[in-house]
Homo-oligomer: 336 residues x 2
């Protein structure tokens, strides 16, 4: 191959993101400067926050520009290196964008250029040991501050972050209740992942079921979803409860802003807090999390699930799977 | 007088509270048991939270029962005492309810039975040194954690709590911006109280004016109001900002729940938090606050304003003043 296939952002999405928001393009394979590394992307990571990067709004990363390749995390292989610490054949994690080849350098871009530890597969690196696992780890432990014996409620529980949040909470001695969509996801969470109870928001009354499954209310709510599920959750908080505002995927594809929860005054009555975080702030402490996560995977206390799509052509359609709830576990795509 | 006049809760309000929610009644003056004190109420305190005590909803205090006197803080005079530490003529703060006479005892009821310090007037005790001042003090300093040089935004700024919050923030070296309704309140806040800037929500675009008056955004938002003002404020938070959820007076008289802010995801992007509190939790530390507040009043750094109504017959109508924005400063009523 001598060409670099790309998917460029064609326009800013209004409503549900999909293939119509991207244009296919081909460019020459980029040429390296000193200190740089040429990486061939093998696996792409799909993350709910990508929808937010496509709109022209100030956030923790600048928006993707129209006509530029879509930003995405990736694992790839070093094809050429002008940097002494990287050699051809190394497997690395970086910000690869939606393209075959990326020029990367350590310390540059949101994710830098990280060699995969020995024995760690690309799928593992992009899920439980990657942004997903770190988000679950630091969001739950640093913002949520769960204590043994407390109840932890998780929305988007069958998602990559949510399923890891629940397992870390179990490891820390908490009772864990999940909210997910559909019987397959719910069955997976209770039977394989080890949640104490799961609420199927597509088929059950979420508010009533939170009340039922959290007889002592919740102490930590890890929210990936926002919207009506957040509102239902806020009716069942314990005194001094903590709501971890990780994401609000239910709103990302709304064409106009959706109303927020009508019951925020429960925060006052219950002396409770809602707090947001951005995982990039914790990257200097990533090794703390990775060591714990690897140990828990090795001991069998932590399982992870990858939803693997294939093919460069399927990249834009795969992103949509996150927002329609089709994925079970971490959404990845193998390029070839 | 040998009778005890009362205003009883007649029904649970739907929509704006008013005289139609109360019934006038007369009962005998109660008889004391050992350890009790008979207090004749002289001044009643009116507080936004009273509207919440009238509905049948679990909160930090049980709802007022239908047919019972409306709960309220008061300052009164001891008329008879079966307790060795109180003598006839003592001025005391207690939970007096809407009636002439109350039987009180130290350590009982939400506010116990506190003798007014020498030189402290009933008006001062029920405003800057009472629940209002303590709410401002602990809410701002403990939950908001303002640091010198930061910007503090206050809604309901001309209310009794809001105006004290702003002044404490100034004492702590912050830039203070208020939001209040109407030119008179705004003028009072800038010219007399010392706010750096005030936004008139009845006549100005709150969102645009927050942007204008908070060029470095806000670090602490002390919210007494909720609703659209909260939503506007959430668009202008700084990184690691703290929103103190004191109250949401804009929603208290809504017949049906009002939608919440559509932009809670700003908490995530900005690594920010919203946190509620209930002042009763801080009563054991009340003396810390009272010492500081008295010193600031003495030095002239802290001014307070009382809106004094008169007459037992006017009690129900006076409560409504809080929710229609008629009061300037702490709403009190002198019974006779």
């Amino acid at each position: 191959m001598t060409i670099n296939r790309q998917w460029l952002l064609a326009n800013r999405p209004v409503g549900m993101v999909g293939p119509h928001n991207f244009n296919y393009a081909e460019t020459p394979i980029p040429v390296l400067s000193s200190g740089e590394v040429l990486v061939k992307n093998l696996f792409l990571s799909f993350d709910p926050a990508q929808r937010n990067w496509m709109v022209d709004r100030k956030a923790y990363l600048p928006p993707v520009a129209i006509g530029e390749p879509m930003r995405a995390g990736s694992v790839g292989q070093v094809m050429d290196s002008q940097h002494p610490e990287y050699v051809v054949g190394d497997l690395v994690q970086t910000t690869g964008y939606w393209q075959d080849y990326v020029v990367a350098a350590p310390g540059e871009g949101p994710m830098g250029l990280i060699k995969l530890p020995s024995g760690v597969s690309p799928e593992m690196m992009l899920s439980v040991l990657g942004i997903t696992g770190l988000t679950a780890y630091f969001g739950l432990l640093e913002i949520g501050q769960p204590k043994a014996g407390e109840t932890v409620l998780v929305s988007g529980a069958a998602g990559s972050t949510g399923s890891i949040v629940g397992q870390i909470a179990k490891i820390k001695g908490c009772r864990v209740v999940g909210i997910a969509g559909g019987p397959d996801k719910c069955k997976w969470l209770t039977e394989t992942v080890g949640f104490d109870a799961v609420i199927d928001y597509k088929n059950e009354d979420v508010n009533a079921q939170i009340s039922h499954h959290c007889p002592d209310k919740w102490d930590v709510f890890f929210d990936n979803v926002g919207g009506p599920i957040l509102e239902a959750a806020l009716d069942h908080m314990n005194l001094r409860a903590r709501a971890v505002m990780c994401g609000s995927i239910s709103a990302y594809n709304a064409a106009t802003p959706l109303p927020g929860p009508s019951n925020l005054s429960n925060l006052t009555i219950n002396r409770a807090r809602m707090e947001g975080f951005v995982i990039l702030d914790y990257m200097p402490r990533a090794m703390e999390a990775i060591q714990d996560l690897m140990a828990w995977v090795s001991s069998g206390d932590l399982v992870y699930q990858v939803d693997l799509q294939e093919g460069f052509d399927n990249i834009p359609a795969t992103l949509q799977r996150l927002y329609t709830g089709q994925n079970l576990g971490k959404q990845l795509l193998k390029i070839d």
